[in-house]
């Protein structure tokens, strides 16, 4: 039955929200600068498509770069942390501390160190998105089923074999969960970077458009920019979900 499909439910809730949106505007007589109607946002999307399209790619590149570096470095840091309790006790508090420092405080410092441009934005994206990968993957690597660890010990395997044949595949679902969270954070990181350091460099990403549209009081265009930013986030999460499906669908409990 069609109503059993997930997309069908999403479509129903989406359509209901648009109806509620229109009703709110007309019933409460909300001014356009407060909440533009969906068709006005769509109109802004069409009118500013060139600007938005360019900004989309300007933001996409540092966001992807930061996320890719997060996914690689995050996995490597997790592998290192899982090697011994001593390494975890020594390094994990500092990794956590880095995550706890508000990114807005770090942003100007990063701009001083790395300049006002791509590198700073990608670094901010990395800093905001690497922690979920590290926390999840490390947890997966160190919580491997004890019986499976003992099983491999009876085969007298090396540490490397234990890691390669057991701990890494066991931690894979944990890594992918972390990556899913990071993918949704990467867009926030890239936008924060652009808002605070990117605009000065002349990079005209979505962050720059937010500043411009806000200054010009172009509210439908501002909503259109938010829509495009959401789209990037959705693409990221969608790609991670696809990887998740490709790698786990045959054996993992989450697909049954």
């Amino acid at each position: 039955m069609i109503y059993k499909d997930n997309w069908c439910w999403s479509l129903i809730t989406g359509s209901s929200l648009i109806i509620v949106w229109y009703l709110s505007i007309y019933l409460f007589e909300l001014p356009r600068y407060f909440l533009p109607a969906p068709h006005e946002i769509f109109h802004a999307l069409i009118c500013e498509k060139k600007l938005l399209f360019d900004a989309f790619f300007q933001t996409l590149i540092p966001a992807v770069s930061g996320l890719v570096v997060s996914s690689i470095l995050g996995a490597l840091i997790s592998l290192m942390l899982s090697l011994s309790g001593l390494i975890r006790k020594t390094l994990f508090p500092w990794v956590l501390l880095l995550q706890l420092v508000p990114i807005i405080v770090l942003t100007p410092i990063i701009a001083i160190w790395l300049g006002h441009g791509f590198l700073s934005i990608a670094t901010i994206t990395f800093l905001i998105s690497f922690f979920p990968i590290v926390a999840n993957t490390t947890h997966g690597l160190i919580s491997t089923d004890k019986i499976l660890v003992e099983l491999l010990k009876t085969y007298r395997v090396s540490k490397f074999q234990e890691m390669f044949y057991l701990r890494i595949p066991y931690a894979l679902p944990f890594y992918l969960t972390g990556l899913k969270i990071s993918a949704s954070l990467a867009m926030i990181g890239a936008l924060t970077g652009e808002l605070f350091v990117g605009s000065a460099s002349g990079a005209k990403g979505l962050g720059y458009l937010i500043i411009i549209f806000r200054a010009q009081n172009k509210i439908p265009e501002l909503f259109a920019t938010a829509f495009i930013a959401c789209l990037i986030g959705l693409i990221f999460v969608g790609i991670v979900c696809l990887i998740n499906w490709l790698m786990l669908r045959k054996w993992h409990d989450s697909f049954r």
Partner: protein, 245 residues
């Protein structure tokens, strides 16, 4: 010839917690010895000491053969590997030649009647099938000594009885020796040439019962008076050795 010799094995987890004390025993060629005792008495710990997974506090374990295999209570299959890949695992880890791996695994799959499901993942198997994969995996390197920790404990009676017969069939073909930990008296009598009864806290071997039943054992044996008499004897020994339970 003794394959495993245990001399005065003792294990304390801390000063106040002695699990095993003064265990002396010899496992001979081609025999299956069941170890039976109450829950938590240290049966698994003893098997792990023999396998080298746990270090004994005192005493000595002498193994006269190198190739040991351990079968866990849980089938302990890697969920991301197919049945075939799970069975291959010990050979892959030992870097065996691929042709040899293929040949050995195909033979084992036939031996445990799982050729049809070789590409299935563990979640697609029943409890009994999982255990058969686990046993097939333990046989890949032609072990001389098998250590089995309640391998059929979580299965229903019908499946368990069937696997008991399969187990004896494999033993007859491959002639390994085994320590078989179980809670089931009937299973112990059906499978073993000797049964060792453990007393509780700290556990020690209190009685060794010889099972003088015919070598060829089938389901019909379970109705024979000599089998039932042995079941009663083991049950009695277990009760008087652990009169606090």
């Amino acid at each position: 010839m003794s394959l495993v010799q245990l001399y005065s094995i003792a294990k304390n987890f801390d000063e106040n917690r002695s699990v095993l004390t003064d265990i002396n025993f010899e496992l001979n060629e081609h025999e299956i010895v069941s170890i039976i005792g109450p829950s938590g008495c240290g049966k698994t710990t003893l098997l792990k000491i023999i396998a080298g997974l746990v270090k004994q506090t005192s005493g000595e374990v002498i193994l006269n053969k190198d190739e040991i295999s351990f079968v866990f209570q849980d089938a302990a299959l890697l969920p991301w590997l197919t049945v075939r890949k799970n069975i291959e695992l010990p050979l892959t880890l030992a870097k065996f030649d691929e042709n040899q791996i293929d040949l050995t695994v195909s033979e084992l799959l036939e031996l445990v009647n799982l050729s049809d499901v070789s590409n299935y993942y563990p979640w697609q198997l029943s409890g009994g099938m999982k255990m058969r994969v686990s046993i097939a995996r333990s046989l890949t390197k032609s072990p001389q000594i098998m250590l089995l920790d309640e391998p059929f404990g979580s299965l229903d009676v019908m499946t368990r009885n069937k696997l008991n017969e399969d187990f004896l069939r494999l033993h007859e073909k491959q002639k390994w020796s085994a320590f078989f930990v179980t809670h089931s008296i009937t299973e112990a009598v059906f499978l073993s040439s000797r049964i060792v009864v453990l007393a509780k806290k700290p556990a020690t071997f209190v009685k060794v019962i010889n099972v003088n039943l015919p070598f060829q054992r089938t389901e019909k044996l379970r109705e024979q008076p000599e089998y039932l008499k042995l079941v009663a004897e083991v049950s009695h020994e277990l009760r008087i050795s652990n009169n606090d339970i």
